[in-house]
Symmetry: C2
Subunit: 409 residues, 2 copies
């Protein structure tokens, strides 16, 4: 494979995020954080449901305070105290006032709250108001926060804590959201054993399945580990079809053996899948394959754990985002890498023109960014790294001293 004939990363990302959103399901609002709305949500209720005091003080008719000042207070008759969580039993009449606490329901007849700071209790049931108020002072009107019938949140919005809080506030118990993608993860390689097995001579533990499952979960998907297939076309075909039938996405992680990667492409074709892309001009991650089987995405992931993880962060995240119905972000890396840090390379990084590199780096507190220049065969490099630095496709590398933006893990 020549890097110049492979699919550029940005085009590959578009292919991965070209899939339609999954169908919708209804979930309880308290379980809906992070989920993507499948339809607009309108409020069935007004918030607040009643005119509500926003300060402690006295509920009054504003006109009774007109002209009031320190030297010439208005004298109002206190007719009681508004109970919290209930309504005041009577209307406020002319030159009357009721004590009210923040959050209390405004009594009939009152149209303003005079803050307690602007009052003096003159003794008995009389309060002196020393500042003129206006209608609407220190209260929030029914529906002023959220209007009854108005659209609160739009389809495609990923719900945050405050959104779920607002939905609960208006009495919504369930919302329609996109289904979480079901991702089946299958590994292939004669040298692989399960992570809880003890490898024999020449064998290694299959950590790709474990890592991919955690990556899928971190982005809101539901992962199923389908086990390990031998490097055998028949066995792999059967397991692949079983996965594809029961999941929304299949990630087929190649063993690192010579035939495994070719095997993936062959088996994809044998089961009748359509190859969407075969090879990306990226390092690590070049041998990635995207195909569709009855419209479902099936992905041939590279065999080295380092490569597999990087490919998932870039392309897997784009795919899952599309299936969840997220709007296409201007920056497709934003979901897997919400944090960026700025720094300066302390060493040269070489790359090949036409290839986009994602270099593992360590970031020192002073901003020094040290590339880890070992091969993708060494898993520990990703463990020692704090993030990735992108070397753009058109460059042959980055020189020591270059200011870089690190995609922080």
């Amino acid at each position: 494979m020549n890097y110049l004939t492979l699919k550029p990363v940005n085009e590959a990302v578009e292919l991965f995020r070209g899939f339609a959103a999954l169908d919708a399901e209804r979930v309880r609002v308290e379980s809906a954080v992070g989920r993507v709305l499948a339809e607009d949500v309108a409020s069935p209720e007004a918030v607040p449901a009643f005119d509500r005091a926003t300060m402690d003080g006295y509920a009054v008719r504003a006109r009774d305070t007109h002209g009031a000042s320190e030297s010439m207070p208005a004298y109002l008759k206190v007719v009681g105290r508004v109970p919290m969580g209930a309504v005041f039993g009577r209307a406020i009449g002319s030159e009357e006032a009721a004590e009210i606490g923040t959050g209390g329901a405004m009594p009939e007849g009152a149209d303003a709250v005079v803050m307690v700071e602007y009052t003096r209790r003159a003794g008995g049931d009389v309060v002196e108001v020393v500042k003129a108020g206006a209608a609407g002072d220190s209260l929030i009107r029914r529906g002023e926060d959220i209007a009854e019938g108005g659209v609160m949140l739009r389809a495609g919005h990923a719900l945050r804590v405050q959104d779920v809080g607002a939905l609960a506030a208006v009495g919504i118990r369930e919302v329609s959201v996109r289904r979480r993608p079901l991702v089946a993860i299958l590994s292939t390689g004669n040298e692989l054993v399960a992570t809880d097995a003890t490898p024999g001579p020449g064998q290694v533990r299959d950590i790709n399945s474990l890592c991919l499952a955690r990556q899928v979960e971190a982005l809101g998907g539901i992962a199923t580990i389908a086990g390990i297939a031998r490097d055998d076309e028949r066995e792999l075909e059967a397991k692949l079809v079983k996965c594809a039938e029961s999941a929304d996405v299949v990630l087929l992680s190649g063993g690192s053996s010579v035939g495994a990667r070719d095997l993936t492409g062959t088996v994809f074709e044998k089961v009748g899948a359509t190859i969407v892309l075969h090879g990306i001009s990226i390092a690590p991650g070049k041998p990635t394959i995207l195909a569709t089987w009855h419209g479902k995405p099936i992905v041939g992931m590279p065999g080295y754990p380092v490569s597999s993880m990087v490919v998932f962060w870039i392309f897997g995240a784009a795919l899952l985002g599309a299936l969840e119905g997220r709007p296409k972000a201007a920056d497709p890396m934003a979901r897997a890498f919400p944090t960026r840090v700025e720094g300066r390379l302390v060493r040269n990084v070489a790359s090949k023109p036409g290839r986009e590199d994602y270099v593992r780096v360590k970031v020192a507190p002073n901003g020094d960014v040290e590339p880890i220049l070992l091969g993708t065969a060494t898993l520990s490099t990703l463990m020692r790294a704090d993030g990735l630095v992108r070397v753009p496709r058109e460059l042959e590398g980055l020189a020591a001293g270059t200011a870089v933006n690190v995609f922080r893990f």
Copy 2:
């Protein structure tokens, strides 16, 4: 409360993150992503466990290729193919070679892999090597990735996917991590009803409990919603003690009623708690209280949902991070707000000197940052906002046109 006598935000953060880490528990590595190691972890095995080919080609004795070139190839006898996941049955002798795939176990006697690109199969069992190789070419030595007995990860490290993968690779099944903080959430306010109840006149749904629980979960804690207490000292005392006995942290969310906030302080003292701070020079969130009860943190949260959420993002995150044993970050906001975006204020924002403000803002794709200047009583402002902008304590506001860093939700 005067803002100048309240605790500054940075000092308050230090108090919240001054608590000791919880005890440790053992968890399976596949469930350990996001958890904080309670002890250093050394590797019980070497990775790779055997010298391993990193390219497809031929396993050879390097000295047999010395002097080889296109015009004068070395001729080696192919004695077989190394099976994946097993060992080759015999040693490689002088002028012998064995086919090997990436990831294959190097046979005895061989000390280099000649990449397939530098070979020609001459017919029969002879391979021509057209490039001289050196010992160690295209292979990774036993223990070169992860050394047996070496410390892989240090106590205090928050495990990422790649760390968990590396632990699984060396056969570690369980790790010792800090316990997830158990957080009991109690609300108080006569006006509150549960979110699944229908509020009567003057009543509102208790969304603080729901929101705080989701915020706790988002940061790795385990939330228990303990319900709603009346604004009654006896009832609140009993419920508070019950929560404090069964959890690591209690968040007591004040109703917005007049007495509720004073009630929290009174009840904290009545149960024998030590007040650590009472009031922070922040908006929203001023009436926050931090106390300890038998060494456990108990927190009086502000009543308005907007204030409660902001206080949790800043101070709750600091507290949970300390209990999980995370190292103190230089930037205590980093955990709740991993993403920052730069922009420019399109309108003036006023603040009070001595008070640190967190202003809800909308961020346009072109970087325009529009402050939402409504009060904390309006929950919908947080729903409409994309993030928060900090107005530093020493300023009286920020002028339109100021470049700002938005803490993005």
